[in-house]
């Protein structure tokens, strides 16, 4: 079973898409206090979902993380989430921020985002292929996760082909 550490983006975006349940099968869901505060300000409904979200005080960031955060202009939530990853290095870090993802890659962490989690939901049996394709089609209308339309359309087409829907 796999633990995950969440940045605010996937929590906010999955909540906007009414799809927070797709992360319920991970063994533990950790968020640092700064992410809780950020999500609480911008998408409080995400924190009211019935899943078991563990709010953890992040340790003081190691020098490497501090430097990466400064270099990449990471925000406090991203910095604290990366610090939590240092405590749970085998967890998956979920973020939709490319700079945070670069930092996570540098540290050798597994890192994915909302799109990957939605597609994984089909592999795990939480959603059908057509359901996820509908969610992806509704992204520009329903969420604040911005993807260029040509790429989103290409992904939807390849998934429809893969899932034969």
């Amino acid at each position: 079973m796999t633990d995950v550490v969440l940045d605010s983006g996937p929590l906010i975006h999955l909540s906007e898409l009414d799809a927070l349940d797709v992360i319920c099968d991970f063994s533990s869901l950790f968020i640092p206090e700064a992410v809780r505060d950020e999500v609480g300000r911008h998408q409080p409904a995400a924190l009211k979902h019935s899943f078991n979200l563990h709010v953890i005080s992040a340790p003081s960031p190691q020098a490497t993380i501090r430097i990466l955060a400064r270099t990449l202009s990471l925000d406090r939530g991203e910095l604290e989430a990366l610090s939590l990853m240092e405590l749970h290095p085998h967890a998956i870090f979920l973020t939709d921020d490319s700079a945070a993802r670069v930092a996570a890659d540098q540290r050798g962490f597994k890192v994915h985002g909302t799109i990957g989690i939605l597609i994984r939901a089909v592999r795990k049996g939480h959603r059908t292929g057509p359901e996820v394709i509908d969610i992806l089609r509704s992204l520009p209308r329903r969420s604040t996760l911005y993807i260029k339309p040509s790429l989103l359309n290409e992904i939807i087409s390849s998934l429809a082909n893969e899932w034969q829907v």
Binding site: S73, V102, L118, K148, L151
Partner: protein
């Protein structure tokens, strides 16, 4: 390209945060804050890299083992 003037709408919470920063004196005005935020964002969010990450996510979503 010459200076670009545009109009933006901020969600209520973001607007409150922005106004608080300006009121506290961290930025002389809203324009300066937005320029700084956009500059920092563009410095660290390369479009090609974002696309690469999303494609990696699609592959993981389909064929990952976790």
């Amino acid at each position: 390209m010459s200076e670009l003037k545009t109009e933006i709408s901020l969600p209520k919470r973001l607007a409150e945060d922005v106004q608080a920063q300006v009121k506290a004196g961290w930025f002389p005005d809203l324009n300066s804050l937005v320029v700084e935020a956009v500059r920092r964002y563009l410095e660290t969010h390369d479009g090609e890299l974002r696309e690469q990450f999303i494609r990696q996510d699609v592959a993981w979503g389909l064929y990952g083992d976790d």
